[in-house]
Symmetry: none
Subunit: 402 residues, 2 copies
């Protein structure tokens, strides 16, 4: 997999045409052992089928054949960025998951409240999965510590999970974890993985010492573990790359965060598919690119709930007229990866994609499905090709070479 | 074409699941002008058709579209190694072809016994294709020469062909050929292609001088020509890359040699397909990856014998139950390249592949054939994607990125 960012940057033109990218998180599936049909093939979805029939279909590899992508690489690839080149660290992703806006020099880490014994050895890496309320209370205890001029912002996530963000001058995120990933041993000292990161390692270790003191009376959550230190990756923006005024619509913070990383503007919306699509319709005049993210398909897949995933797809189909009624020049519907209910998790299976636009060369595919997409006009392509294809179909790319 | 070795190394997990890779050498073909069917399409092969129908099919490019691969690049690609990055020299390949185990510092060359006239000019590059027995006798004459502490091991191959292996400290294989590839001229002096190879060039030239003396009375085989000086390439092993305990089963030495290059363990077997598959069955408990190589299809193709190639495929089909009866988690059947009987040689045509496993997403292909594979669910993929796909389907790859 690779991207053609420099080429696209050179060829892209600002125009008045509009592109809508609908991402059904975890869209691709596997056939039910009873019916032989996938979630997508089981869903009643006349609107999506009509778009597929009038447009082109294909199958997409988010990272490479055989590779199961996390949400970050899956989305970066859809936005046209090589996911093997641009990486989003665990700490940054966790911060995005709670809508925490990271600044350029911030260093974020994923934290666990954990339990240690008198000798300081970890006995439970998750502190018995304390409640989210307890987590919030403890995070407040640690939040705002000032160490050598660096402020440590601590925010609760869920149960034992929190985010620690180090904010100050001259920080470097190239640090090893303190989380030993096992019990029976003491937490590791945070080490610098680069000569420039020495001071940041020092500060992180001081934070851990102070946190331990502050948590002394809060057994089982009497210590912290930090991992995935990372800084906001430097990505060229969608505006630079594509000359697009872009909007992100997502009920879930992590996807808003991923969209912000590439410079999209986030529009407030409600949690349902209908509300998201309505938000698009209401803001249609103000942007020329919309990324709309539907979480439910992935969540149902992760739960192994085939029927619920089918219903999410049907819900999307029901609301599609909110999008098609405004007549976007190009509509793309796909996923960031597959999440088959049978596997209860992300998978490596290529993701079906449909691309509809006035100038696409229609294929013989008559409905939106994994098995039909195999013979679609788009073939089997890298996810990083989707944006160039959408741009081309919206007549937003000029000729390469004389 | 490229590989994702670093990525795979990072994501691969040791598990108890098992993968079988069956390589029918030269599998891909061209239609008979009489029937319009290829060798594979002509063969009666109910077992392979059933696997194809329950699994996924596709077409594989070993190196790149239009490129006809030799056996070494064809196999390296199937093992997941970019054949444009990792190269196996002629000398090394020739040594592997006679099961000669090269050490890390050895320099191997392909040799010809040839005829020279009184002026030293080559009159026959193959010495009238002397018998293999004669070749063995002459090789014994030259074997074991010691030059400046470097031992020269000389082994007969077939007819006029032999292998010369230089073994000693500080050798460098970057040498030009002595074989002028034409008659009427004297053999070339071996030259160093790198400043570090000067001493090795010297030793090679001394060997040629001594060989000429030793062969003086053996007209027509009164001289040697050397070409393809090469050392064993450094390849990451299958165990490092995939965390696999792997076994190679092949009746032919060259393929055992290629498997050894990537660290596979070679299991002894008989020459027939049935014996090879039986060897797999008997050793099934001891490994989690099996590479089984079937030579006959390529040999028949090279001979232009369409019918014999059909029979080899039928023989494989007959023996498939030996493999399927042990229920491997993933079975892949493909070739290292095409060898259409009509072309009597390797060709550039993409090779059909079938991948069967519990978690594959079945396509609409109902039999194993080149023309059906065009619309298979795997699409047209690089051969280097086969191992990642097999690994993914065996649940041996963890997620990439958060």
């Amino acid at each position: 997999m690779s991207d053609n960012l420099d080429l696209i940057r050179e060829l892209s033109l600002p125009t008045t045409s509009k592109i809508v990218l609908v991402v059904l998180d975890g869209l691709g599936g596997l056939p039910s052992l009873k019916t032989g049909k996938t979630e997508l093939e089981t869903a009643k979805k006349p609107n999506l089928d009509r778009l597929a029939s009038r447009g082109m279909c294909g199958l997409v590899d988010p990272v490479a054949p055989g590779i199961t992508p996390g949400s970050a690489p899956g989305h970066l690839a859809l936005f046209g960025y090589d996911p093997l080149k641009f990486k989003v660290g665990r700490g940054v992703l966790e911060a995005m998951g709670i809508d925490f806006e990271l600044g350029p020099g911030d260093v974020a880490a994923r934290g666990n409240f954990c339990t240690v014994d008198e000798a300081g050895r970890v006995t439970d890496r998750r502190a018995g999965r304390i409640s989210t309320e307890k987590c919030a209370e403890l995070a407040r205890l640690l939040d705002g510590l000032l160490i050598e001029g660096v402020k440590v912002l601590v925010r609760p996530v869920k149960e034992h999970r929190f985010v620690a963000v180090f904010r100050g001058e001259g920080l470097d995120h190239r640090l090893g974890d303190s989380d030993p990933q096992q019990t029976g041993v003491t937490p590791k000292t945070v080490t610098a993985l680069s000569t420039q990161a020495g001071r940041t390692a020092d500060i992180a270790n001081q934070f851990v010492v102070q946190a331990k003191k502050a948590l002394a009376g809060h057994h089982p959550a009497n210590m912290v573990l930090l991992r995935g230190f990372s800084g906001r990756p430097e990505l060229p923006t969608v505006r630079e790359m594509y000359k697009l005024k872009s909007a992100a619509i997502s009920g879930y913070p992590m996807y808003r965060g991923l969209a912000r990383l590439v410079g999209m503007e986030v529009i407030e919306t409600g949690p349902s598919v209908r509300e998201e699509f309505l938000t698009l319709k209401q803001n249609y005049g103000s942007y020329d690119f919309f990324f709309v993210h539907v979480k439910g398909a992935d969540a149902a897949g992760e739960d192994g709930d085939f029927e619920r995933k089918v219903r999410v797809i049907e819900e999307v189909d029901d609301s599609m007229p909110l999008i098609t009624s405004v007549n976007p020049d190009v509509v793309v519907v796909t996923g960031d990866h597959s999440t088959p209910a049978r596997l209860k998790g992300h998978s490596w299976h290529p993701v079906p994609v449909l691309l509809y636009g006035r100038y696409c060369r229609p294929d013989r595919v008559k409905g939106f499905s994994e098995s039909a997409a195999v013979s679609g006009g788009l073939g089997r392509i890298a996810a990083t090709s989707i944006m160039p294809l959408a741009m081309a179909n919206a007549l937003k790319l000029t000729k390469y070479g004389a």
